[in-house]
Amino acid sequence: MGFDVGVLLQHKELLFQGLIVSFQLTLSAIVGGMLIGTCLAMMRMSRIWIVSALAGGYVNFLRSLPLILVIFWFYVLTPKIVGHPIDAYSSVLIAFILFEAAYYCEIIRAGISSVKRGQVQAGLAMGFSYLSVMRYVILPQALRNMLPVLLTQAIIMFQDTSIVYVVGVRDFLTTADVVANSTNRPIELYTMVAITYLVICFAASQLVSRLQRRYAL
């Protein structure tokens, strides 16, 4: 038998497409999750209790569920809500964004709390509105403080996208699995997948420690 690299080269385009899907999912979940997460974090810190309770409830609820359940759930639920069938990719995208938003909310909230309290007062005293203080003074500092955690979460996120296997979305792992079954070469494929994940995640975590040194306040 031996280790047949040829089978990998032969399907390299298909596999590469799978990898792109994984990246797309990761990036969309990060961007969407952070946008919603920032809103949630600001809601959670609101002095109006109902607003903060709503955000708190959402965060606690989603963080109590396994990701795989959330994915199944949106897979069967979203078509019912929108009234027509939707593709698996869209349903996992929504699931990822909403799931990650709950985690990003907590990271962002911790980041905002890490900024010195006097900064809000200083910003307000200059004549900034509360939202402008957030935008120009607090969030840029909070982002710097949470950069390492945010990127670590992104790396975990990238690994977690492989869960879309369960609903058949053609990400990197699913594609490799399909190729493995059709060529009967699982060892080659799975090893290649493992090495690829290892290289990408290791490189990303090196980047994290570099950025951390550069942007630390």
Binding site: K116, M126, F128, R144
Partner: protein, 242 residues
């Protein structure tokens, strides 16, 4: 310029400010002193609405600070404030610290804002520090940048909340000198400080607070000559002995 009428403030049942009335006329320098916890900082933070109060009225340049209809950000942009811990924005360099509020709040062009910032930095003797970040400066330098940042907004009055308390002794004078020059230029100032030397040099009036109340409000000569209240006498004897 600044007028407080019978202002009271409570944290739950604890009364932080007790019926405080105070008037600061245009061009006047008023030093507010008193033991810690007497409500000095809270008092001046009521002047720009950073602290809310439950009773009484505060007017700055004829505008009510407590009224719901008041555009507080706009009012605050006309009152400069300097804090004990400087509170420069650590993620921006010195120039941007001074320029950004002018650009975002006063809608000045970037060139105009930076020119104004550079002029003020030169006046503070900090021209060479423009590109540095706050963490690279000494405390005294940071506080002078903070003063420049406030002045760049062309305020009608300046509030100082213990501006030298967090400084090493050798840096206190460089900040006080800037404040003295400002006072001599005719700036309206409310200064919470224990620096009685500063009060002697430039204050018009000295206000002494204790337990949330204004115990004494006297012309400088009168205050340092013979303070009327026992509490102020004790306080002065404690801080002036060394």
């Amino acid at each position: 310029m600044i007028e407080m009428r019978h202002v009271s403030k409570w944290y739950n049942v604890f009364r932080v400010l007790d019926d405080c009335s105070l008037t600061i006329s245009k061009g006047e320098v008023v030093v507010i002193c008193g033991p810690s916890g007497s409500g000095k900082s809270t008092l001046i933070k009521c002047m720009n609405g950073l602290e809310a109060f439950q009773k009484g009225e505060v007017f700055v340049d004829g505008i009510s600070v407590g009224a719901r209809s008041t555009n507080l950000p706009k009012l605050r942009s006309r009152i400069g404030m300097v804090f004990q811990n400087f509170e420069l924005f650590p993620h921006m360099n010195v120039l941007k610290n001074i320029a950004l509020p002018q650009i975002k709040i006063l809608n000045r062009s970037r060139a105009e804002a930076e020119a104004r910032a550079e002029k003020l930095l030169a006046r503070m003797g900090l021209k060479a520090q423009a590109e540095k970040f706050p963490a690279q400066l000494s405390g005294g330098q940071q506080q002078r940048v903070a003063i420049a940042r406030a002045l760049a907004m062309d305020p009608v009055a300046m509030l100082f909340d213990e501006p030298t308390s967090a400084l090493d002794p050798e840096m206190i004078n460089e900040v006080l000198d800037v404040m003295v020059a400002l006072a001599q230029d005719g700036m309206t100032m409310a200064v919470v400080t224990h620096e009685m030397g500063f009060a002697r040099r430039v204050a018009n009036r000295v206000v002494f607070m204790d337990q949330g109340a204004i115990v004494e409000d006297a012309a400088k000569e009168e205050f340092f000559g013979t303070p009327r209240s026992d509490r102020a006498q004790q306080f002065l004897s404690k801080i002036l002995t060394h």
